[in-house]
């Protein structure tokens, strides 16, 4: 139950950030692929760097163990990404 309440609150933070950065709008996502608006990359990479830095610090302090890392299967990840980009660029989601 506690876990679900945590999920709800984290979801609110996630949705809030997405809204504030404007990724709920078609043109923000579509323009990333035209390189006229770099919001998606700036947002994604900042989140990635902050979280990665924090995770390694927390692991160093012994607060967490890493959760299961998403499996690497080169063909699947790559082909999945290749199909994904079509949908993302087309619909702007």
């Amino acid at each position: 139950m506690t876990n679900y309440i945590i999920a709800l609150f984290l979801g609110v933070g996630f949705g809030f950030a997405l809204n504030k950065v404007g990724l709920t709008k078609y043109h923000k996502v579509a323009n990333q692929f035209r390189f006229t608006d770099m919001t998606v990359l700036k947002f994604m990479m900042t989140a990635l760097v902050v979280a990665a830095a924090g995770l390694y610090v927390f692991r160093g302090l012994g607060w967490i163990t890493f959760p299961a890392v998403p499996a690497t299967y080169i063909a699947g990840n790559l082909i999945g990404g290749l199909i994904f980009g079509v949908g993302m660029s087309l619909s702007g989601y």
Binding site: A7, G11, F14, L18, A47, A51, P70, G80, G81
Partner: protein, 184 residues
């Protein structure tokens, strides 16, 4: 205090600021719930949940699990942590729009979309729906979406995430080139 209020009520934040917020959220997910943020998985769990009720034999497979089998399903067809997270995302998006007083029911009001595809709302719905099916299908193959694989995997420095981002940009750019043509 007023400065904080003024900041929150801005319609758009710097992507770096919002990125830090998302990074902290992703970090807290691991710290508090030992979970990774993700969006696409929740839709798959919900689809499995509905599918198992409507067409149990069709949805009895390795992906959503077989009744009585020992092997764990790839996607659990139940209300998972991710599904609750998704509910939160919707609420968070609403609060974000409310805080800047920009919440409104919209059907098709993106100026750039109208320039490219025309003003008819049905086109937005059809292309949006088709695009979303492609997204979700691809996320199923790759093992996650922009949030579940690219960001959550990336913060664990998983090679899968960077393969996915590479593929996503290659086809995304090609698709944009086709859609925009000379206006690219």
């Amino acid at each position: 205090m007023n400065r904080i209020k003024a900041f929150i009520s801005q319609e758009t934040w710097s992507p770096y600021v919002a990125g830090v917020l998302l990074g902290i959220v992703g970090l807290l997910a691991v710290l508090l719930s030992d979970a990774l943020l993700g969006a696409s998985g929740a839709f798959e769990s919900l689809a499995g949940l509905v599918g198992k009720k409507v067409a149990p034999s069709l949805f009895s497979n390795t992906y959503w699990g077989v009744e009585g089998a020992r092997a764990l399903p790839i996607m659990r067809p139940e209300i998972t942590w991710s599904v609750i997270l998704l509910v939160g995302v919707v609420i968070g998006g609403f609060l974000g729009a409310q805080s800047s007083r920009t919440f409104k029911f919209r059907f098709n009001d993106d100026a750039q979309w109208k320039r490219i595809f025309g003003p008819q709302p049905w086109k937005r719905w059809v292309i949006g729906f088709a695009g979303a099916i492609i997204l979700e299908y691809a996320a199923g193959i790759a093992g996650g979406c922009t949030s579940g694989l690219a960001i959550s995997g990336g913060m664990l420095l998983a090679p899968a995430a960077f393969l996915f981002i590479g593929g996503m940009f290659v086809s995304g750019i090609i698709t944009a080139l086709i859609v925009y043509g000379r206006r690219y």
